[in-house]
């Protein structure tokens, strides 16, 4: 993970937005009101759950994209171990952060949904709930590990392994309702068995699409922030070297080289 300082050029990484993110942001700006419109106005009530069913359009997509996010963290982690590149490390970190937010949203929307339908905010015996919580906590731990001060390479490696192990949760959470049929109140896969009304299904797809775009949008920005942060860490490098060399009362190659390139303020 060699950081190339030459990349720190005026304007290049100054902002985290670019044409593509502006486009995604624009899509979101249009998509979210549309989703709200469909979710609250056009789509029908459920026979049993009534208006509460409308939570479906956010609950399920965020759950799915928390899987996606953690999956990408795992891929980033594996690729980091393989290529040792900062790019993959930053990707894994960014994705985990968004994944944590998404799984928190899953938990929150699920709880809110549970109140009217199951008559409880939380049910300890329910495997899906508990496994989702475990997955959430695992990645909170991952983020905590990333906060610990250490050499960037060491930190990245440690985090990568924790990130890979964390994904063991995804199949568990996903399959939990089948494996533990008796100990869950939670829905099994009901979306794919075809009994949903068309408009409900459409709204759900729309929600998934919008959340997908949201993930991508957040991801790009978060990645760039992460990249900038590590760039920032490296920013004082030339000056630090110069200052350090001055301790010995000498001025030599590296420092003057950086000074010539005008990268030291």
């Amino acid at each position: 993970m060699k950081i190339k300082f030459k990349e720190v050029k005026e304007g290049r990484f100054n902002a985290t937005s670019s044409r593509s993110t502006r486009f995604l942001g624009f899509c979101l700006a249009l998509g979210i009101p549309t989703l709200i419109l469909f979710a609250f106005v056009f789509s029908p009530k459920d026979d049993t759950m009534e208006d509460a069913v409308r939570l479906l359009y956010i609950h399920v997509p965020v759950a799915i994209f928390s899987y996606v996010a953690f999956g990408i963290t795992a891929i980033g982690s594996i690729c980091y171990l393989w290529k040792q590149s900062r790019w993959w490390d930053t990707t894994a970190h960014a994705s985990a952060e968004i994944g944590v937010i998404f799984s928190a949203l899953t938990l929150i929307t699920g709880s809110i949904w549970g109140r009217p339908t199951w008559n409880t905010w939380w049910e300890w015996g329910d495997v899906r709930l508990v496994t989702t919580l475990v997955m959430f906590l695992m990645f909170v731990g991952y983020l905590a590990l990333r906060q610990v001060p250490a050499q960037p390479q060491i930190r990245a490696k440690r985090a990568a392994i924790v990130g890979i192990i964390g994904t063991i949760n995804i199949p568990i959470v996903n399959r939990s309702v089948e494996w533990w049929e008796n100990s869950t109140l939670h829905q099994q896969s009901s979306l794919t068995d075809g009994n949903l009304e068309d408009l409900t299904l459409f709204t759900w797809f729309l929600g998934t699409l919008i959340l997908g775009i949201a993930y991508l949008w957040l991801m790009i920005h978060r990645f760039r922030v992460g990249w900038l942060a590590s760039e920032h860490e490296a920013l004082g490098y030339g000056a630090a070297i110069e200052e350090r060399q001055a301790e010995a009362g000498i001025q030599t190659a590296i420092a003057s080289e950086y000074r010539e390139e005008g990268e030291i303020e």
């Binding site: 050499q151 490098y237 630090a240 350090r244 060399q245 301790e247 000498i250 030599t252 190659a253 420092a255």
Partner: protein, 224 residues
């Protein structure tokens, strides 16, 4: 001559801090080099770099023929490092400690016994827990672990610290013997040059760079 250590403008950062700011140093096989310099100059960092324990940030670095950029691992078994900390288990006795580190480097029982004896730890001390040792005895135990290892590159961070006069002589002999048998020794010392140091070559480090590189006679063969 065979270059055991070959650093070219090597930069090492600890956290954000550039502890080494471009070190250029060649050490040939069989040489004994004493590194001096003020506190915080980067001497310990230099040793840890040569042991393959720290990543090289810039410049090139190779030790025992391996490039540290690509492979910091395979050289490690041939390196003996005595740092500020002793690397011992407090709850094992002197003998158990040396025997354990001996078994890790595939040394025989006999070698372990000899190392203990050589460092003056036989008799009562052999069965004392390391936790209960005095500072110098601890240091000796740590040394005994190195002796059984017989590394081909010795990196010694203030090897004389905490040792008594006899211990110092012992260490000096050890260093000389090692060098005579083809090993290379890089040691950090704060003791003035006039003292009976086993080294002919003195390298001074300051501000993370080598500021002078001379033989005892004062003839610079300077790299900076």
């Amino acid at each position: 001559m065979n270059e055991v250590i070959n650093l070219q403008e090597a930069v090492v950062t600890l956290g954000q801090f550039p502890a080494l700011t471009g070190v250029t140093l060649q050490v040939s096989q069989g040489e004994i080099v004493t590194v001096c310099g003020p506190n915080g100059a980067g001497k310990s960092t230099l040793l840890r770099l040569c042991a393959g324990l720290l990543p090289v940030r810039e410049g090139s670095a190779s030790v025992l023929g391996e490039d540290l950029h690509t492979n910091r691992r395979s050289i490690r078994p041939d390196i003996g490092l005595l740092g500020h900390k002793s690397g011992l288990y407090d709850d094992l006795t002197v003998e158990e400690n040396v025997a354990f580190w001996g078994s890790m480097v595939r040394a025989g029982d006999l070698e372990v016994k000899e190392a203990i004896k050589y460092m003056g730890l036989d008799g009562r001390l052999r069965n004392v827990l390391v936790r209960q040792l005095s500072a110098g005895q601890r240091r000796r135990t740590s040394f005994a672990g190195l002796v059984v290892q017989r590394p081909s590159l010795w990196l010694l961070d203030e090897p004389h610290a905490a040792l008594d006069t006899e211990g110092r002589d012992l260490v000096n002999n050890l260093i000389q013997d090692a060098a005579a048998s083809g090993a290379t020794v890089l040691l950090v010392s704060h003791a003035p040059k006039e003292l009976s140091s086993p080294s002919g070559r003195f390298v001074t480090l300051a501000g993370g760079q080598i500021t002078s590189d001379t033989n005892k006679e004062g003839s610079g063969d300077g790299t900076s």
